[in-house]
């Protein structure tokens, strides 16, 4: 083992300072709240800044270690190399477990500091105080992980450059999206700590009314937006680098990011029922607890080696700690909910299932069921292994079968819900409001059949998507007619823009999954083949070499036009082949070319695979629209309601009498 160097010393010091600051910050704040001591509360701020300083310092020191190739650090030996390009050397920070915990820690410390700064004048308010206590405790836990089970600053053994120091996994050093996907996904993942902290604070203080919801509304939206963009970017990355032409494989790590997205999506819908009607208090708290604990459980499943995944990092000792944290979060939250049971009883009633709140409730039940099914499928191999000691795999055929009907019903609800009024809807009102959206659905179906679409599931998806799109556009048209461009702002209207994004993604997924055409050709240089209405001519087959790779690429002209060059690169240090697909993108379809093993530049023979994938680009357009809609939703709408305002016309007295 090497002696601890400067970076190791600085890193450990930063982590110890950060850990102590978070822990003392939490304890000081608890004492201050209990004693009502205003002077003690003022001492909390420096602890927060110190914790942030510790996290920033740890990340900066690790980057310094990577950039200066400090081989004294075991982590740099594992993910660093002498010839990794600067960009990928920078992103190598989060290319393995220890560094990714540092990134998590940094974002958590930033969120904690922002909350502390934002509410600095209200730290004496027990709701804010307890929320910050929770943030401090979670931050302290991650500092603990970074210091103990996933110590990134551990000194390494004397490096043997023939075996070590190869750089990050080849898949993490061949596309620029490695710079964006993990941090953005983590911003979403970690961001759900804020509403969770306020939920716990509401339970501890007993202020379980609607006040804490208003505080956390934008935080939940912010986290949700980043999680959504992170997941879409992950799909794009997979499409660009994995060479199988897909965006989603139901891999456990993908599922781990999708689970909190589902419960988070349920929350940002059901929270509106609580704000408007004061109902579903326990449900909303449970959703936030579920979202936060699913981020911890997901990290446990995928980072402890219990579930096999292409994304999973190597085995480590982090598992028991994360599982323990998950248990503590669930037990404490459930205990608090039980303790506050009396105050959580909601005063109102949902008058009719055919109402906005009825639709939100149905959407919530479906999203929760969806999350449950995916969690079950993800952990089921573990259950079978524990019971029968045999390995099984639960993969995309199971998840596809399960998610199709749930997705279709969710699309249908997206169509109907925006037209429903709060409290109660009459048949006449629905007949009127849903008429044009329903015709949009019928029109979309007719157009897709005209364009050649087949099979029940995608046809239903297109129909409901058209219906839902019509409903969203109807709402936006009505709002902008009344309020001009401000009709695009606010939660309801921004939410409709997000709905349009989700609908576009649903259509693109249905089309690209159902109607992809593919074929494989072995061709000689100069040869042309035709497939699915396109011609492909091999212009050349070439060897190429870079400092890190040797590879083969084929130059292929599509329809006599520009040349596209799919390649296979062998990362010499790893002996691992990484495909580089080449894609001709258009709004209608992508032509996705990959070069297969067996191609021979010496004889001019190219083995290529062609995928014709309809509408793929709309996945990214839909994702962008989701991000844009989330921004619009974060702006206050024109007519902000006070909690005491009436939410809809009162029920006529004769109806009340008849109940």
């Amino acid at each position: 083992m090497l002696a601890e160097g400067l970076n190791g010393l600085l890193g450990h010091t930063a982590l110890i300072v950060g850990f102590a600051a978070s822990l003392f910050g939490a304890l000081a704040l608890i004492a201050a709240i209990r004693l009502g001591n205003a002077r003690l509360i003022k001492t909390v701020m420096p602890y927060g800044w110190l914790a942030l300083g510790g996290a920033v310092m740890a990340v900066v020191v690790m980057e310094r270690g990577l950039i200066t190739r400090d081989w004294q650090l075991a982590y740099v030996q594992r993910v660093g190399s002498r010839d990794t390009p600067a960009l990928f050397n920078f992103t190598a920070l989060w290319s393995a477990l220890e560094g990714s915990i540092l990134l998590w820690l940094l974002l958590l410390a930033v969120y904690t500091a922002i909350i502390m700064h934002r509410y600095r004048a209200r730290l004496a308010d027990p709701l804010v105080g307890w929320a910050l206590v929770v943030m401090f405790f979670v931050t302290a836990f991650f500092f603990f992980l970074a210091l103990g089970p996933t110590d990134a600053f551990r000194a390494g053994v004397t490096p043997d450059f023939t075996a070590c120091c190869k750089g990050p996994n080849p898949l993490l050093q061949n596309h620029v999206l490695v710079l964006f996907h993990p941090p953005i996904l983590y911003l979403g993942y970690v961001g759900f700590t804020v509403p969770f902290a306020f939920a716990i604070a509401a339970l501890v203080t007993g202020r379980v009314g609607e006040g804490w919801l208003v505080e956390t509304r934008r935080w939940a939206l912010f986290a949700w937006g980043f999680l959504t963009v992170g997941i879409v970017l992950g799909g794009w990355w997979s499409y660009e680098v994995l060479g199988w032409g897909g965006v989603w494989g139901w891999d456990p790590v993908e599922n781990a990011s999708f689970l909190p997205w589902l419960t988070g999506t349920a929350y940002i819908h059901s929270v509106m029922v609580q704000e408007r009607r004061g109902m579903l208090r326990v449900w909303n708290l449970s959703l936030l607890v579920a979202t936060f604990s699913l981020t911890i459980l997901g990290t446990f499943l995928t980072r402890s080696g219990v579930v096999n995944s292409v994304h999973a990092f190597s085995d480590s000792t982090i598992g028991p700690f994360l599982l323990g944290a998950f248990g503590v979060v669930v037990l404490v939250s459930l205990g608090l909910i039980a303790w506050r049971g009396d105050r959580l009883r909601s005063p109102g009633a949902i008058d009719s299932p055919i109402s906005r709140e009825g639709a939100f409730l149905a959407n919530n039940v479906l999203l929760a069921l969806f999350a449950f099914v995916i969690l079950l499928g993800t952990v089921f191999p573990l259950i079978v292994e524990a019971k029968d000691n045999r390995k099984i795999a639960v993969g995309s055929p199971f998840f596809d079968t399960m998610s199709q009907p749930i997705g279709l019903v969710l699309l249908f609800l997206m169509a109907v819900a925006p037209a429903l009024p709060w409290r109660k809807a009459s048949g006449e009102l629905l007949r009127d409001r849903l008429f044009w959206p329903a015709w949009c659905g019928a029109g979309t179906l007719a157009l897709s059949v005209f364009l050649g679409a087949t099979d029940l599931a995608p046809l239903l998806a297109f129909t409901f998507a058209g219906f839902a799109g019509g409903a969203a556009i109807r709402q936006l048209v009505l709002a902008t007619r009344r309020q001009g461009y401000r009709g695009l702002l606010g939660r309801t209207n921004g939410g409709m823009v997000v709905h349009l994004g989700v609908i576009i993604i649903a259509v693109a997924l249905a089309a690209s999954n159902s109607y992809t055409r593919s074929a494989e050709f072995t061709m000689m240089k100069g040869e042309t083949v035709s497939f699915a209405g396109h011609t492909f001519k091999v212009l050349d087959v070439l060897d190429f070499t870079t400092p890190r790779t040797v590879g083969i690429k084929a130059e292929i002209s599509i329809d006599g036009g520009q040349a596209y060059a799919p390649a296979i690169s062998k990362y010499t240090a790893f002996g691992m082949d990484v495909p580089t697909p080449s894609v001709k993108t258009s709004l209608v379809q992508d032509i996705y070319l990959t070069l297969e093993n067996g191609s021979k530049p010496s004889t001019g023979e190219a083995k290529i695979k062609v995928f014709i994938k309809p509408m793929v680009v709309w996945l990214w357009i839909g994702g962008t629209l989701c991000a844009f809609g989330t921004l619009l939703a974060a702006f206050p709408g024109k007519n902000r309601r006070r909690p005491t305002d009436a939410v809809s016309a009162p029920i006529p007295l004769d109806e009340v009498a008849s109940v």
């Binding site: 199971f398 007949r431 087949t454």
Partner: protein, 162 residues
Amino acid sequence: MSAASSVKRWPGWVLLAFVVAGCLAYGVTRDAGARTPEERVEEISKQLACPICNGETVYESRNTASASIRAEIKNQVSTTDASDDAIIAYVVQQFGAKTQLLPRASGFESLVWVIPGVALVCAGVGLFFSFRKWRTNVDTVPDAADRARVEAAMAAEDSGES
């Protein structure tokens, strides 16, 4: 009644139902065209797990074990008349149960199919009883205690405490 609202009465909806039913019937029953052998190989390989890697399908995986399974599927597709399901069963038999990606619908594994159904039924029953409870508990006329609570809240708001 305006022309716009009269069109939304039942004739417009009936016409809509006919259009949707007609298009669905035509779209679902028409022939999607022949699949290329590669497309069959792909569809089959998406239903099978790579036996030596971490959770990838034979379709996604790039390693040699998956390549040999793909080659075997290709061989079966081009030389036999076996159906997709028969080829999947053949591969599972040849390359081991680890390649089975879809849990079986029998024995302990069937739980992964049954539990979601049970959860759906429970959710439905839960919702039914919730709505029934809400319906019988409609409490729209404020009583004296409600009025006192509102007055206290308004007074608190006026004095700037909230």
